[in-house]
């Protein structure tokens, strides 16, 4: 942009730009710039309702009318690009424009209920504000207003007050253009025009909350925030979402020590101005059922409240005794600073390399992949996705697992020329909305499908192509090796997209065996989740099992000799376990792990909420939730997303704070535990990474016998996740849990849509309605944690075989 004083003719117009003037100020701007945007650059605000910089113009509200020299009628600034030598006059210098705007404002208020005192938007309402700046003080309308019954639900979460609607079509355009969920539309005509849904299809979009945020009036509200606060009573803090690895900027609005609502922050390079409903609405967990005091196990074996000094002292004693024989297991939701604190605490104080953050199905191949290819890598970024000629998705369902990746891909596809390919068992709604070319493949068949597709390989060879793998790839042997090799071969950029916000940060903090910075000294090679669980299970093996079983065929009289049981206490597999924000229901064999606690003298859990692990631990410390501490997450791009402490007055210690306090009690020097110091330290203590890529061969799909199928599964965005607790409105918008099954297998079983199908794994089963879906034979799909947690309740994950039966099991 170039701006010169009025009258001067010395504007040089760069290539592809045009010169024009607004209110007498000459300027240049890129061709195609809309008048309203150009005026903004000058600091001239033209009032508007339907205009939104990220939506296509509609020029419907007519609020932004300006005068353009040579045009007989005032023109909508939001829809007309600046032209060469165009002379534009806004309401500031043109009576025509000012009159036009005042007229439109009078019209907008005509049928508006003006119930600002009971409207959630009151105080932050563009209609209120612009009525002040562009409206007349008195209404000349004396007739009766159009009325509608007050709010109706367009979904469980979103409510619509049609009287307040100004028909700007921002919400409907968002749903259609951005989310691709055109579940709301304008209906009827004239003053009866209203937003609505079709009878049986509520506005159950993962992105529905954005419409509330961009509605320029109080027509759209959400059940979560409705009637809860006044904007002027709220304190807004820019924060970052803790749910997934998309890395959204949020705005957290608080009042009296409680989060009232969360909004999408404006982050052009990441989430633009959008976010998902989980990030927006799933925050009641922050206050519900928190662990508030340290707990220790008493003589009766019950957990009792303890003072901090007592609990810290006990923990210090136990850990001092466990130096060199401990393991530190974390969930995937730590801030990168806290993750670094655990990494450092394990290595420097507990002298162990037994660490792991992958509280989910994982593999040794994955650990190698993460250490060699992902750790320390930079990009690709959202911007790279948008400019990529092709993006290939492997074991990754962006709409469910990283919604902002989905939105950016959709933008790349709808506004640009990006082509999306996905290897997946079925064309999910998300993939369909991306117009993705789906290579149908069940778990284990991915490599064959990808490598066998000349289109995909060609696409990957285009400069700028991106290969995205999800965390689920760990469950398909060889897939991550293939991805790393293929990226190297084709030149495609490789992105690993975990589901949880803290995983990438934990990786960068070295929370995997073999990743301790050299400065922390030599340590024996450690084990992660699988090693720890195996050690515990082995140790727990009942001694009777070692006893030869009597041969039932043998004659009664033949006596069997029993091996004498050793009296000496065996050395425990670990002298202490430290568990951080870890829920055993997330990992395969989590129940065995908890059972194995019996083999460990001291289990210490740091957590915000209780779960099977905290309930079985010996010492429990409460830690700060994301609003009670500062920190950062590292998103899937590898970009640091720092956030401040929302509740500055909170005294709850962060994980790092608790670790430092324990270290103090151990008379060990942990160093400062504040996030800034930890971040600085982490930047100099680079974790060791292993140079070699994994090279595991693909195993192909698992063999199944009659009545069995290979399970494909991922977690839906809105599901039974513990951080979505306490938000029934969000939960009610979740996609229904179904078992998807191919037509041939359905025919074999004699079932049709809606019939109950039972999937049985190694430890349990789940019954869900069938949904016959075009997918490879021998594969079934079920959501990972909707109704049943497949890992915890069935003991299966993607790629495992399950028994498939019709109807309910008794």
């Amino acid at each position: 942009m170039t701006v010169t004083e009025s009258g001067s003719n010395e504007v040089t117009v760069p290539e592809g730009h045009v010169a024009f003037s607004i209110d007498g100020v000459s300027m240049t701007a890129e061709k195609g710039t809309l008048i309203i945007r150009a005026a903004e650059q000058l600091g001239i605000e033209i009032p508007r309702f339907c205009d939104h910089p990220l939506l296509d113009p509609v020029a419907a509200c007519r609020m932004c009318l300006v005068e353009i020299e040579g045009q007989p009628k005032p023109q909508p600034a939001c829809a007309i690009p600046v032209g060469d030598n165009m002379v534009v006059r806004t309401q500031r210098t043109s009576k025509v424009a000012d009159d036009a705007q005042k007229g439109v404002m009078e019209f907008l208020l005509l049928n508006h209920p003006l119930d600002c005192p009971i409207c959630d938007k009151g105080g932050e309402c563009p209609l209120q504000n612009q009525a002040m700046s562009a409206g007349r003080a008195e209404s000349r309308f004396e007739g009766s207003k159009r009325t509608f019954p007050k709010p109706i639900n367009v979904s469980a979460q979103i409510l619509l007050d049609r009287e307040r609607c100004v028909s700007c079509a921002r919400c409907t355009r968002f749903a259609d253009e951005i989310a691709g969920d055109a579940f709301i539309d304008l209906l009827e005509r004239g003053a009866q025009q209203q937003v609505g849904i079709s009878e049986d299809t509520p506005f159950d979009s993962y992105f529905s909350g954005n419409t509330v945020q961009i509605c320029p009036v109080g027509a759209l509200t959400n059940a979560r925030y409705r009637f809860r606060a006044r904007p002027f009573d709220l304190v807004s803090v820019p924060t970052v979402c803790e749910h997934c690895a998309s890395g959204c900027s949020l705005r957290t609005d608080v009042r009296r020590g409680e989060v009232q609502r969360r909004l999408a922050g404006d982050e052009p390079e990441i989430n633009e101005e959008w976010n998902c409903d989980k990030g927006r609405f799933a925050f009641p967990y922050l206050t519900e059922d928190r662990i508030t005091h340290p707990l220790v196990r008493d003589d009766n074996g019950d957990l009792r409240t303890a003072s901090w000094p007592e609990a810290l002292g006990m923990a210090a004693d136990a850990l001092t005794a466990a130096v060199g024989s401990a393991a530190v297991l974390t969930g995937g939701r730590l801030t990168s600073e806290d993750a670094f604190a655990y990494s450092k605490f394990a290595r420097t104080i507990l002298q162990t390399d037994n660490v792991d953050f992958r509280a989910r199905p994982h593999s040794a191949e994955e650990a190698d992949f993460l250490r060699s290819v992902v750790a320390g890598s930079e990009g690709p970024t959202y911007t790279d996705l948008q400019s990529a000629p092709a993006v290939v998705l492997v074991a990754f369902e962006p709409e469910d697992e990283s919604p902002i990746v989905f939105l950016r891909l959709r933008k790349a596809v709808t506004k640009g020329t990006t082509k999306v390919y996905a290897v997946a068992p079925w064309a999910s709604p998300g993939l369909s909305k991306l117009g993705a070319t789906v290579l149908a493949a069940g778990p284990g068949q991915e490599i064959q499908a990808l490598a066998g597709s000349e289109d995909v390989m060609q696409a990957l060879r285009q400069p700028g192509a991106v290969l995205m793998v999800g965390e689920r790839a760990a469950t398909a042997p060889g897939l991550l090796s293939w991805a790393a090799q293929t990226a190297a071969d084709t030149g495609a950029r490789l992105a690993w997209v975990p589901r949880r916000a803290g995983e990438r940060g934990a990786l960068e903090a070295g929370l995997l065996p073999g990743m301790a910075p050299a400065a922390w000294g030599e340590l024996a090679a450690g084990v992660g989740f699988p090693g720890v669980i195996e050690a515990l299970v082995t140790a727990a093996e009942p001694e009777e099992a070692l006893v030869p079983v009597p041969d039932p065929e043998a004659p009664e009289s033949a006596s069997t000799e029993v091996v004498p049981v050793e009296d000496e206490e065996p050395e425990p597999p670990f002298r202490a376990l430290v568990l951080a924000g870890f829920d055993p229901r997330d990992v395969p064999d989590g129940a065995a792990l908890v059972e194995g606690f019996a083999q460990v003298p001291t289990v210490i859990a740091l957590a915000t909420h209780h779960n099977d692990a905290t309930r079985a631990a010996d010492i429990v410390f409460p830690v700060a939730a994301v609003t009670e501490k500062a920190g950062s997450f590292i998103d899937w791009e590898g970009r640091r997303r720092p956030f401040p402490q929302v509740f500055r007055e909170s005294l709850i210690l962060s994980d790092a704070g608790v670790l430092a306090a324990i270290a103090d009690e151990m008379l060990q020097d942990f160093g400062p535990a504040d996030p800034i110091a930890l971040r600085a330290e982490a930047s100099t203590a680079q974790p060791a990474t292993r140079p070699d890529r994994p090279s595991v061969a693909g195993a192909g799909a698992r063999e199944t016998s009659a009545g069995e199928a290979v399970l494909s599964t991922w977690r839906q965005l809105v599901d039974d996740g513990s951080m979505q607790a306490g938000e029934p409105y969000l939960a009610a918008t979740a996609r229904p849990a179904v078992v998807r099954i191919g037509p041939a297998n359905a025919a074999d079983l004699g079932i049709s849509d809606g019939d109950p199908v039972t999937l049985t794994g190694t430890t349990g089963s789940v019954t869900l309605p069938a949904l016959i879906t075009d997918m490879p034979a021998g594969v079934v799909w079920a959501p990972g944690n909707s109704g049943a947690n497949l890992v915890a309740d069935l003991g299966v994950t993607s790629g495992d075989t399950v028994r498939v039966s019709v109807g309910r099991t008794s």
Partner: protein, 433 residues
């Protein structure tokens, strides 16, 4: 000026609407000629003829056709606007009833010219008899090989679909029509892009009125000079005028453009027996009204514009002294309020406002200061709405005030039904008297 029946020439024949009737009178002979000329020559001919769109705006038809990009690799479409929903307009419906094959022949020629192999006729949904007749005519034409592949050995293929609307005035607006045709809710689209560049299914599309297209075979057959021998320089040709209202013989009168209203009125037998003209509208409720002083003006696009009105659809409505202007204007606003699509604020809300105020005057409850508000509100709609429907809604009141301010003043005390007996302006008033 004599009447010049061309499109209406054979309507007195009982089978004018059949393929046979049409052919007997020379129908489908322009087709061969057009195929011989080649598409570009057809466009040039229509351009040279000066034919202007009969849908209301009078846009030069040949020019519109020439905007369609050629060799762009995209399908092209011709869409015939047969939504005719303007109050007072009744010319396209009779054309389709009595001479559907002229329309079909015009469609084939126009499609050939703009390289469209798919054409649509979008007919308002309230006229099932007309829709049936068009379907029958298309069936006949298809059977005779005028529609389908390799028409008359020309190598030109055309499919023609008759589509029925669902009852919305706005779907006559060309871009709303296209949305409706695509299966969406009919609301006008933001222009540019214009339909000629991105119309139906985002492909180059020409939207023309029924009468416009029905002119085409006659122009191709008889030539530019013949066509220009009717009408004026700026308004060449003839027009299917539909005269309605308080006249002796309401109906269709095809005459050269430029015929004065007084003469047309004579053809229609003059104003009702014993009554005198109060006001008239040259082309539907959307154009400003005129009075007796304008009767001698030629009915051309340019003369009507100069008089402060518009030729519009060229379907004059005549009102005699029994008519309450207030009631007439209020009635039109009932229509516009009902038909506003709701997309833009000035028309959606402005109509609600005008409607409320006008009803006060109609009921004798108005206040003088509200006349200023009314005028003001119309000014806040005119030129600020998204499409021409808003402008149309803002037209009746100011134009009525220009000539009949006193009647609105009277509306501050006297209901229109008291000032003007509603029965007196009905067709059956004489029967009663």
């Amino acid at each position: 000026m004599p009447l010049t029946p061309v499109i209406t020439a054979h309507w007195d024949q009982p089978d004018s609407f059949t393929l046979e009737g049409y052919r007997r009178n020379g129908g489908y002979s322009a087709l061969a000629k057009a195929f011989e000329m080649g598409p570009d020559a057809v466009i040039a001919t229509v351009k040279d003829s000066g034919l202007r769109g009969r849908g209301g705006a009078g846009f030069p038809t040949g020019l519109k056709w020439s905007f369609v990009p050629q060799n762009d690799g995209k399908p092209h479409y011709l869409v015939v606007n047969a939504d005719e929903s303007e109050p007072g307009a009744c010319k396209d419906i009779p054309i389709m009833l009595a001479n559907p094959h002229a329309l079909i022949e015009g469609i084939i020629i126009a499609s050939y010219a703009i390289r469209a192999d798919h054409a649509f006729v979008y007919i308002r949904g309230e006229v099932p008899h007309v829709i049936r007749r068009m379907h029958a005519a298309v069936r006949e034409a298809r059977a005779a090989g005028y529609i389908g592949d390799n028409i008359a050995g020309s190598g030109f293929n055309l499919n023609l679909v008759v589509h029925s609307g669902a009852g919305a005035y706005i779907c006559g607006e060309e871009t709303a029509l296209l949305d409706s045709l695509e299966g969406r809710r009919g609301q006008p689209r933001l222009k540019p892009p214009f339909p000629a560049v991105a119309g139906l299914y985002a492909c180059p599309t020409v939207v023309n009125n029924v009468e416009t297209i029905a002119n085409v075979p006659y122009i191709v057959n008889n030539g530019v000079d013949w066509f220009r021998s009717f009408g004026t320089e700026k308004s060449p040709g003839f027009k299917v005028f539909a005269v309605s209202g308080h006249v002796q013989r309401p109906g269709i009168y095809e005459a050269p453009l430029g015929i004065p209203m007084a003469e047309l009125l004579e053809y229609a037998g003059g104003v009702r027996e014993g009554h005198e003209l109060k006001f008239w509208l040259p082309g539907g409720s959307s154009v400003p009204m005129l009075t007796a002083e304008h009767l001698d003006l030629p009915l051309t696009y340019e003369a009507m514009a100069e008089a402060g009105s518009m030729l519009g659809t060229g379907t004059p409505m005549v009102f005699d002294e029994t008519t309450s202007v207030v009631r007439a204007v209020t009635g039109w606003l009932d229509f516009y309020k009902h038909e506003s699509c709701g997309k833009c604020t000035p028309c959606r809300e402005g109509n609600w406002f005008i409607h409320d105020l006008l009803h006060r005057f109609d009921q004798g409850r108005g206040r003088s200061d509200q006349l200023v508000v009314l005028d003001n509100v119309c000014g806040q709609i005119l030129g600020r709405s998204f499409c021409a429907l808003g402008d149309a809604a803002a037209t009746p009141f100011p134009s009525a005030m220009k000539y009949f301010a006193d009647e609105f003043e009277a509306g501050t005390t006297t209901p229109s039904s008291v000032a003007f007996d509603p029965a007196a302006s009905t067709v059956f008033s004489e029967v009663k008297a």
